[in-house]
Amino acid sequence: MSKKTWKEIDIASIINKPGSAKDFKTGDWRSQKPVWNEDKCKQCLICWVYCPDSAITVKDEKMTGINFDYCKGCGICAVECPFKAITMVEEKK
């Protein structure tokens, strides 16, 4: 994003694009990576509730995967999944 000078900043520094943080990717913070085993997944969506980074993707009320653009690799989903369908592995870059 190009830098704005103070003259171009909207009054009161209003951000006119709701949810614009989606343009900022936090996936490169990861040192560990969750791996989802779809066969073990029972679609309880507990991982979706607890993921701090909204990185568990859900479509039509079903988990579809993990969005690595945002996942910070905290490991909460792996700890909380009641069916052990998520495991953490080292992130290789």
Partner: protein
């Protein structure tokens, strides 16, 4: 009571791309708050981690109207917006039903924002105030607040050879809010997501002010494993460190009563902020005794009001 499936339908009104630490409990709470509150909501925040990490210009994680002004006055700011809304609605200039939420960390709520919160509640504004309580001023580098528990190490209550962390008990803000004769006051944790969702919905359905104090695990400030944030919140309830209860129309209700409470050490020693207490039997006894007294007090209050 919403199911998880129903909650996923709201879409992410608090979006990815925020800069909170990995495993931050505060962001789990905010996601849940917004999944329950829905689109027609105005949110105001006190300065603190959950404001800073979500609104770094020109980015915002908020997909609803959001306002920040200062550390001490999120309740005052939101009560002003709510008043303007009521006036405009009366004139027919706004038709929509809009919900109002103010939130702050424990520093912004228990300490510097207490007067503005108390004032807003006394005036009776139609808003929910949610405190995400991580027990210190985390965003400026872990300074003690009046919510910091006894014995915790912070940078301004450092654990040394003589003084073992903070030597005062935490303030009981939930009870202070109850003393305002509010219709709805509650304590919750993100682990009990369904209980917390219930409480958010009750608070938002109310005509008048509501207050919810939510325990917010902070891997950085608590010195805990990010992956364990939710498990630590669970332990907090199981060890009676954090009673999950509500006060509704004059009646107390303890929502979770651990059948056989776990010992407080199970909560303390998964966090480095308490590690210097390992061999301090007397201090741990003091914490245990305090928690038991508070728990019994709560049981009595429940009995007396029902």
């Amino acid at each position: 009571m919403p199911t998880i499936k129903e909650l996923t339908r709201t879409g992410d009104l608090f979006t990815s791309g925020h800069r909170a630490c990995a495993g931050c409990g505060g962001t789990i709470i905010l996601r849940l708050l917004m999944a329950n509150a829905g689109k027609n909501t105005v949110v105001g925040a006190a300065t603190g981690c959950m404001e800073v990490v979500s609104t770094i210009y020109p980015y915002t994680s908020w997909d609803v109207n959001f306002v920040h002004n200062a550390f001490e006055n999120s309740a005052a700011t939101v009560s002003g917006i709510e008043t303007a809304y009521r006036a405009l609605k009366k004139k027919g200039k706004i038709k929509k039903d809009i919900k109002f939420i103010a939130y702050g960390g424990d520093g912004g709520t228990f300490d510097i924002g207490l007067q503005s919160l108390s004032g807003a509640v006394e005036r009776g504004h139609n808003m929910l105030y949610l405190c995400y309580n991580n027990g210190a001023y985390m965003n400026t580098g872990i300074q003690r607040s009046s919510a910091t528990p006894f014995g915790a190490h912070t940078t301004t209550s450092p654990a040394g050879s003589k003084i073992k962390g903070k030597m005062q008990q935490r303030k009981d803000l939930t009870e202070i809010m109850i003393a305002h004769d509010m219709k709805y006051v509650a304590q919750a944790t993100p682990h009990n997501w369904s209980d917390l969702s219930n409480k958010i919905n009750k608070a938002l359905a109310l005509n008048g002010p509501a207050f919810i104090n939510v325990l917010s695990p902070c891997p950085l400030g608590w010195g805990s494993d990010p992956a364990q944030s939710i498990q630590i919140a669970k332990l907090a309830v199981e060890t009676l460190y954090w009673p999950v209860y509500e006060y509704e129309n004059g009646k107390y209700k303890i929502n979770i009563k651990p059948k056989k409470p776990k010992d407080i050490e199970e909560f303390l020693f998964v966090q480095n902020r308490f590690k210097h207490l390992k061999n301090e039997k007397e201090l741990i006894d003091k914490i245990r005794k305090h928690l038991n007294e508070k728990w019994n007090e709560l049981l009595n209050k429940e009995k007396c009001t029902n």
